[in-house]
């Protein structure tokens, strides 16, 4: 691990002041479940670590009639232990329950979940976020892409976004509050993730000197939500596809729907097509199946991951059926 300077911030202002203007100079340390492994493997080698765990404002869960606020340092275990979240925001609670490692849940934070880096094995082996060999040849298209993207994979980025929470947050139309040297701003959850065009860009819409401070989720009163992850193992395992849905029903008819997919594209996918397929219809096996099919209508398999199209479709179907209960 390259030697680094360790800075302990106790306020948001301190933290953002300690971060650099370009990516890679400094990294934000929260739970460290991803960052430390990246540093040990020399995939990232920051000159400075900014510990934010001592910033009190970033902690705490608040639920009001208007919605839910998660401080970015809230751990997955805190969410899992929160009965009110389980009751009012099943999509979020279920996404958290899918992280089946108590160690990760105890250390990992909701902010970190959004900002963790992709698990693409070429990236983790040091070939960069766009996975190119030393001659600039892209490794994913002809390589082993069994866990790579089936949507949004037309460009150079072919990894999948690893966030557990993102699909649920998008389906619930959450906002991500971030802070920088000039103050705070809010980013809609479906705008938070971006697809980088080079190794010097990140997978999220933060500036290098911004940090996530809060996750703001509107009230889900009257909204039926669910997250369904297709995971091979019960033990900690990355989902092969995830879907989160938020449905408003009028009797049995779907009045509005927001459906988001995870682990299928470089960014979480907000599927209007799936939502449209469902709105105005009653939730049945068939309509849920049709929504799943709509979600993957534009999917494009790489050489080895066609099965993920089926899994994404099933995830959407099952999330809808689960939400409608």
């Amino acid at each position: 691990m390259q030697k680094f300077e360790y800075a302990n911030a106790t306020t948001i202002q301190q933290a953002v002041a300690l971060l650099g203007n370009t990516w890679g100079e400094a990294e934000v340390l929260a739970g460290g479940t991803d960052l430390l492994a990246l540093m040990k493997d020399y995939v990232v080698a920051p000159k400075r670590l900014v510990n934010i765990k001592d910033i009190k404002e970033l902690k705490g869960i608040t639920m009001t009639a208007n919605g839910l606020r998660l401080g970015s340092l809230v751990t997955f275990e805190e969410v899992l232990d929160n009965a009110a979240i389980k009751r009012s925001y099943p999509a979020i609670w279920q996404a958290v329950a899918g992280v089946t490692s108590p160690q990760i849940r105890n250390m990992g934070t909701v902010g970190g979940d959004l900002c963790q880096r992709p698990r693409c094995w070429y990236y983790r082996a040091g070939y960069g976020i766009l996975a190119k060999d030393e001659n600039g040849k892209a490794l994913v298209p002809d390589g082993d892409n069994r866990y790579h993207a089936i949507l949004g994979n037309e460009g150079e980025a072919k990894y999948v976004n690893p966030s557990s929470l993102a699909p649920a947050l998008i389906s619930l139309m959450a906002k991500i509050k971030v802070a920088g040297p000039k103050g705070s701003r809010e980013i809609a959850a479906d705008q938070f993730f971006v697809t980088p065009k080079s190794d010097n860009e990140r997978e999220y819409a933060l500036a290098p000197n911004e940090i996530v401070t809060d996750i703001l989720i509107p009230s889900a009163s009257g909204v039926k939500t669910a997250t369904y992850e297709v995971r091979q193992r019960e033990v900690l395992d990355w989902p092969l596809a995830t879907a989160s849905v938020a449905l408003k029903l009028d009797g049995k008819t779907v009045k509005s729907a927001k459906i988001a997919l995870g682990h299928v594209a470089p960014v979480p996918v907000d599927s209007d097509a799936a939502a449209k397929a469902l709105v105005g219809k009653a939730v049945t096996e068939d309509t849920a199946e049709a929504a799943g099919a709509a979600a993957v209508a534009n999917a494009r398999a790489l050489s080895r991951n066609a099965y993920k199209i089926q899994l994404a479709k099933v995830a959407v179907k099952r999330a809808i059926l689960q939400a409608a209960g």
Binding site: M1, Q2, K3, Y42, T100, R119, W121, Y122, R124, A125, Y127, D133, K137, L139, D142, G143, D144, R146, Y147, V230, Q232, R233, E234, V235, L236, D237, W238, L240, R304, N305, A306, Y307, Q310, L311, V314
Partner: protein, 726 residues
């Protein structure tokens, strides 16, 4: 001539009973110290620079920058300019530094120029492997296979196989070594051969064998991959010497552990089998291939258990050994057997399905082909069927066992297996002290088989004293030499040696106390903490009083078991397993419901540790059936999943419910302890693969049974073609 034979069942106090592992509390409380826990004063840390390419020649190496880094003590080149590295991960240099992080940073400062050459790292697609990398071996035939297939009423064809998996020892390979003076080495390794690898190290270092002092109390997994001192062991000693003899700890990092520290060869086969209408198996034909690394892999013994004269009357087998630029294979818990079982028992299950026969009925019909263990298998099939409630739960292929739904299909599958085993060469010293305490010392190791517990049981049983009175010392090459733990031979060897040593020591004690009791030594027996007259048990002397007669001189006797001696231990076991699975046909995810193992290992020394040995094999079996695969990248030539994240192992919630039944009593006990570590690892792949085929109505050809492959098999089935052409 002393009588060493094992006590009769009604006389056994400990042997065959359910006894907790005596070192269990140490292990679960974290007090047990493994090689990896060895932190000697002044400890330095060694790290290895591994080859980044699968086939490359080193043109130049510049270590100057690394040598200048603060905290770096030694930089040593292992393979210098001109060396050809034939697999990614091969060792190039070792750095020793004051801490791990500095050592790793220094590795990155070593500058190397390579000339890269083409590599081959995958072998399943045999057509894509260059001719130069393929070596066909001799075709083997028995009977008249062509004629037999022509005359067969039913034939089935299929493709079966498994990718390379690794040993994935939780304690990685390595050791801590220091020079206690200019000529003496102290080594704390993680090894399966306590009495073996010190000699190999001495030879490599050109010092007398007695100058290597080796200590290992516990090992964190070996599975067949820790028999050698290995290059990293020798280099560790050399760099310790270069660092003024200071202790150097050098264990492989997880990525290296999964890349170079051992793997199980791949094996793929296209199989055709034929039978008469009544289920009599008549013909086998297979074309198999596989790789164990650069050296390829020797021809496997197909059809499994049936390649003998008494087996399938007509067969033809072909094999192609494939050379790949991957690290060499190592013995993996029952070398070749799990692969052979999958291919053979998979093909037979497909044949039974083609015959529309219950596979257990099919195996019973052909049970005599499995000589010489036909009777054992027959009994075990009965027991396994009873445990699994086979009659109530099994349904013909594709019909879905009870509990199946529209999307989740349940299925059952069966497999049989064998293994050799038998006691290895073992020695021990048994000492009876004048105060009544007893100890046993042996240069063996506890690979998980319960060595310490078994030694304790045998000595206590033989001397008729409580187990707590016996102390067991293993894990040092200063103790009487014993073989490495391999081939499921440890319990057979150490129990026989300790039985002999204990009987001989006891006889010496009998000689001392006989005059007191006024009888001849041969008229005495030891039981219930006493030495008593056989004909008149009320005439006795308490153990401690008896030992006091020794005066100041303890009795120490060498117990010896020679390899191949069949007096107390024998060879050859059989086992049957049944897997009960559920398959989500929309996601292709396979879940274990229940898993049943019926196992023979001759005389069971400790029922509890025996069962736990089988549990371990079943967990490993579920893992390699559903999850494990070393994924090699064609482009970079590297392992893509050298981590515990994508090199997937089962967790506690993934394995389902296990039930183990050990076969004991007549037909089993009189064979003495045979061997157990490996056999139950052989059937899981076949049983689970067969269960999945039974559930979904189509064979998923290769392990691991991952969602992509399950869905592909289901899609083929819908399209009308099936792996097994019936």
């Amino acid at each position: 001539m002393a009588d060493y034979k094992w006590p009769e069942a009604e006389k056994r106090k400990y042997i065959g009973k359910r006894i907790s592992r005596v070192d269990g509390p140490l292990k679960v409380s974290g007090k047990a110290k493994y090689a990896y826990d060895t932190n000697r004063p002044g400890l330095l840390h060694g790290k290895i620079l591994h080859a980044p390419f699968a086939n490359a020649k080193i043109l130049s190496i510049d270590t100057s920058a690394a040598e200048k880094m603060p905290g770096v003590r030694v930089v040593k080149i292992v393979q210098g300019p001109g060396s050809v590295l034939q697999w990614a991960g091969d060792e190039i240099a070792v750095v020793v530094a004051v801490d791990e992080a500095t050592a790793k940073d220094a590795l990155r400062a070593i500058k190397i120029e390579y000339e890269r050459m083409p590599h081959v790292v995958n072998d399943e697609d045999l057509a894509a492997v260059p001719t130069d990398n393929k070596r066909p071996t001799a075709e083997r035939t028995q009977g008249e296979p062509d004629k037999a297939f022509t005359e067969a009423d039913v034939t089935a064809e299929g493709y079966y196989g498994n990718a390379i998996i690794t040993h994935c020892c939780l304690e990685s390979h390595g050791q801590t070594i220091e020079w206690t003076d200019a000529n003496n080495v102290l080594i704390h390794p993680s090894t399966q051969g306590v009495s073996v690898i010190g000699n190999d190290l001495a030879k490599a270092l050109e010092i007398p064998a007695g100058n290597v002092n080796l200590k290992m109390d516990f090992i964190g997994g070996g599975f067949g991959s820790k028999f050698a001192i290995d290059r990293w062991g020798v280099e560790c000693a050399k760099v310790s010497k270069m660092a003024e003899g200071k202790p150097v700890k050098l264990h492989l990092e997880r990525d290296a552990e999964l890349t170079i520290a051992g793997s199980r060869p791949s094996m793929y086969a296209k199989v055709k089998v034929g039978a008469k209408k009544d289920g009599t198996l008549t013909a086998w034909q297979s074309e198999a291939w596989g790789t164990g690394g650069v050296a390829g892999m020797g021809a496997p013994a197909l059809p499994y258990m049936l390649n003998f004269q008494s087996g399938v009357p007509n067969y033809r087998t072909k094999y192609t050994s494939v050379s790949t630029n991957t690290a060499p294979q190592r013995a993996w818990r029952a070398p070749s057997h799990p692969q052979l079982a999958l291919i053979t028992m998979g093909a037979l299950e497909d044949l039974a399905a083609a015959l529309k026969m219950d596979p257990i009925e099919f195996l019973r019909k052909n049970i005599n082909l499995f000589a010489p263990r036909a009777e054992i298998y027959s009994q075990e099939l009965d027991k396994a069927a009873e445990l699994a409630n086979w009659k109530a739960n099994w349904r013909p292929r594709g019909e879905g066992a009870p509990g199946s739904t529209k999307t989740v299909k349940r299925g059952l599958g069966v497999s049989m297996h064998t293994w050799g085993g038998g006691g290895n060469a073992s020695n021990c010293d048994v000492t009876i002290y004048p105060d009544g305490s007893v100890d046993i010392k042996s240069g063996t190791q506890d690979l998980g088989v319960g060595t310490i517990t078994v030694l304790n049981i045998v000595v206590a049983e033989t001397m008729g004293i409580p187990m707590e009175w016996v102390k067991v010392f293993i894990g040092s090459n200063r103790y009487p030499a014993s073989s490495a733990s391999g081939g499921s031979t440890t319990v057979g060897g150490i129990s026989s040696a300790s039985r002999r040593g204990s009987v001989d020591a006891l006889n010496q004690l009998f000689a001392k106390v006989a005059p007191t009791l006024g009888v001849k030594p041969e008229e005495l027996e030891a039981a219930d903490g006493k030495i008593r007259v056989i004909a008149n048990p009320s005439k006795s002397i308490a153990w401690k009083e008896a030992c006091a007669k020794l005066g100041s001189q303890p009795i120490t006797v060498r117990g010896e078991h020679k390899a191949g001696n069949r007096e107390l231990s024998s060879s050859g076991v059989g086992g049957v397993q049944i897997a009960d699975v559920s398959v989500d046909i929309e996601t292709g995810i396979v879940k274990m419901n229940n898993f049943y193992a019926v196992q023979d290992c001759g005389l069971v020394m400790d029922l509890k540790t025996a069962e736990s040995q089988v549990f371990g094999a079943m967990i490993m079996g579920v893992t390699y059936s559903l999850y494990e695969e070393r994924i090699m990248d064609n482009a970079t030539g590297r392992v893509l999943n050298p981590n515990m994240e994508f090199y997937k192992l089962a967790g506690a919630m993934d394995i389902g419910n296990f039930k183990v039944h050990m076969m004991t009593g007549k037909g089993y006990d009189e064979r003495g302890p045979v061997g157990l570590g490996e056999p139950p690892t052989n059937s899981p792949g076949a049983a689970i693969s067969n269960a999945v085929a039974n559930a979904i109505g189509v064979r998923v050809p290769t392990l691991p049974l991952t969602p992509d492959k399950v869905l592909a098999a289901l899609a083929n089935k819908k399209g009308g073609s099936s792996n097994a052409k019936i």
